[in-house]
């Protein structure tokens, strides 16, 4: 997914922001796939592309056997019942002029799923599902705390009984002691409602905890995907290794024993990514081929995929 960079009065395209530059992956039913990477790596764009929220995307998104990119607008609209999004910002994503009840019930109205008594019952049920009291339905977003607002956002996503939810940094804006509450809630809901999650976050500790498998992105590409435990125990891509070592463990006796790899420089701009492997300028192990050829994402065994010339 490239975003055009325009200049001048006529908005002529002068370059592309290569937000997502050729990625392929799958998500199994019932699993949580974590998508991690730093700012500008393309993880949020990926999540939104899956939900077909952008024009100009290239490639295919096959959801439950159907290629979403081939659907007409009305068909896609009906498809959206099955796939929802939870946003990062519990402040900006709720309409301040709607009550909590209206926000949560809106999808039911939009998709014509319930009316009258049944509508009220379902809204109440949704409140309870996210551990809020139904009597709070008449309150406005500003009357709730950050964590409660996030619960409202989750309830809204659940209203249409989706099977797949893209969680885009759902806990980053919350206080540490509230993050655990929301993580546990999401896990419980996943089990009870048989959901599948794409969990996008920059906090590796959170992702590691909640995900079955994790994909690491760098500058628009996936550099490594594997089982969550395997990624931590046996990271293979140099970027993954550096990323993991940069995350301190809240336990000095453990943290002290770890090797620290400090990357030099900044992340390059996605407008002008480096040739070949886009990590090579910062990679301590780069060899000649890394500067010329983009490495393929390959399964090196046990469903552990890595895109690196040095890994066989």
């Amino acid at each position: 997914m490239y975003f055009p960079v325009t200049a001048g009065i006529l908005q002529k395209k002068v370059a592309d922001v290569k937000a997502v530059d050729g990625i392929s992956f799958f998500i199994k039913k019932g699993e949580t796939l974590g998508l991690v990477g730093e700012s500008g790596c393309g993880k949020t764009t990926t999540g939104r592309c899956i939900l077909q929220l952008y024009e100009g995307m290239r490639g295919k998104i096959i959801f439950d056997g159907t290629d979403l990119t081939q659907l007409k607008r009305e068909q896609m609209r009906r498809m959206r019942r099955h796939m929802q999004l939870i946003f990062q910002d519990p402040f900006a994503s709720l309409d301040p002029r709607m009550t909590a009840g209206e926000i949560i019930g809106e999808p039911l109205k939009v998709h014509g799923l319930a009316k009258g008594r049944e509508y009220r019952d379902q809204v109440a049920e949704l409140f309870r599902m996210v551990e809020l009291e139904p009597f709070m339905a008449d309150r406005y977003p500003h009357e709730f705390s950050g964590g409660q607002r996030q619960r409202i956002g989750i309830a809204r996503a659940l209203a249409v009984r989706p099977s797949f939810i893209v969680c885009d940094e759902p806990v980053s804006a919350l206080d540490v002691s509230i993050q655990a509450q929301i993580i546990i809630l999401l896990e419980r809901l996943r089990e009870e409602l048989s959901l599948t999650y794409l969990f996008i976050a920059h906090d590796l500790s959170v992702v590691r905890n909640i995900s079955d498998r994790v994909a690491v992105m760098y500058l628009g590409r996936i550099v490594e995907i594997t089982d969550s435990d395997e990624l931590y125990a046996n990271p293979l891509h140099p970027y993954t290794v550096a990323l993991l070592s940069a995350v301190p463990i809240p336990d000095p006796s453990v943290d002290r024993t770890r090797e620290r790899i400090i990357l030099t420089g900044d992340v390059p701009s996605p407008i002008n990514p480096p040739r070949g492997c886009n990590f090579h300028p910062r990679c301590q192990q780069a060899i000649d081929i890394c500067k010329e050829e983009t490495p393929e994402l390959r399964n090196i065994g046990g469903e552990h995929w890595v895109a690196c010339h040095l890994v066989k």
């Binding site: 509230i178 931590y232 990323l243 940069a246 301190p248 336990d251 900044d266």
Partner: protein, 333 residues
């Protein structure tokens, strides 16, 4: 409170900073005491609205009035009470003897001045350097914090640098006058993890080289574990526990600290390891519960906790905590 003979350069005593708002009196900092020794690094840890940032701004007398006032306490810095100093004296101290690095570099770097101008201005003002000397020193500092191509880039404006680079420039500015104390307020919250690592390593390196004491204000328990010698845990404007880092993480003795440590996901724990939850909501500083502010969320709350406010007591070497529950019965989960 200090028990060794290493020189204490900052001693905050019973600091109280209140804000007067439409919701009433907000006791942002309500009787805070802690100290910093020469050359050591101290963490000030807590969640939003616990008072950690307000306490740092209080030290530098940067609390906006209205609506905020420092209503009580002492801030002894190198032997003098900053709360009794004149504004002129404070101007001499800020950015010179005590420097601060903020969370958002965009708010503390002047967008219309070049980086060179901003740093050298400070050097000329505080260290009495002439233009040539200050320029050389500016370039040296930029190199020290890892700005590539420093001589050329010194002439750029802040917006021409990435977020991580701006943070480094702020660190360069902060250290330009060789302060005795550097206060870093959430220095890593708005940057990526790999940049966070770079910045904290720079601060640590510079601390070793220059002997600067550092206060790191953060909510990130991992950063604290790695980069500070002693930790002060704050909740609702008060200090609830303080201890040397290893001691705090292995033998926490306040229910809030224990709860926090158990609720934070760790890179090295198993997948789907259950996190413990601190029940309830963060405190509303304009409507604090009576007694111990933490009691509504505490697994160990007793009747006494609802009406009386606990004071700090020693539970180990340099280890204090404010809680009525028997310390011997409290262990990390």
């Amino acid at each position: 409170m200090a028990t060794t003979t290493d020189e204490v350069i900052l001693q905050v005593k019973e600091l109280k900073t209140y804000f007067y708002t439409q919701e009433g009196e907000v006791k942002a900092v309500d009787g805070l005491s802690y100290f910093v020794r020469r050359g050591e690094s101290v963490g000030l840890v807590g969640e939003s609205a616990c008072g950690k940032s307000v306490s740092a701004l209080s030290v530098l007398r940067l609390i906006p009035y209205p609506p905020g006032i420092i209503v009580g306490g002492e801030i002894m810095f190198q032997g003098r009470d900053l709360l009794k100093a004149s504004e002129e004296d404070m101007r001499h101290i800020r950015g010179n003897r005590i420097a601060m690095v903020f969370q958002e570099p965009t708010t503390s770097l002047n967008p219309v001045l070049t980086v060179k101008r901003q740093i050298s201005e400070s050097l000329e003002l505080h260290r009495g350097m002439d233009k040539d000397a200050s320029l050389q020193e500016t370039i040296r500092l930029l190199r020290l914090v890892g700005i590539p191509d420093a001589e050329r880039r010194a002439q750029d404006y802040p917006f021409q640098f990435s977020g991580g680079m701006q943070q480094r420039i702020m660190i360069a500015m902060a250290l330009s006058c060789d302060p005795a104390l550097l206060i870093a307020d959430e220095p890593t919250t708005s940057v990526d993890v790999t940049v966070q690592a770079q910045l904290l390593e720079i601060i640590a390196e510079l601390r070793e080289r220059l002997g600067t004491a550092v206060i790191i204000i953060t909510h990130n328990l991992g950063v604290v574990a790695r980069y500070v010698d002693r930790v002060n845990v704050m909740y609702a404007g008060k200090l609830v526990e303080t201890a040397p880092t290893d001691e705090l993480y292995s033998r926490p003795k306040h229910p809030y600290t224990i709860g926090l440590l158990a609720s934070v996901p760790r890179l090295d724990s198993e997948r789907k390891k259950s996190l413990r939850v601190i029940k309830g909501l963060p405190p509303n500083l304009s409507r604090l519960p009576g007694g111990c502010s933490f009691h509504p969320r505490c697994d160990y709350a007793m009747d006494r906790c609802r009406t009386e406010s606990p004071v700090l007591e020693e539970v180990g070497p340099e280890h204090l905590r404010a809680c009525f529950y028997d310390a011997a019965k409290l262990k990390k989960y």
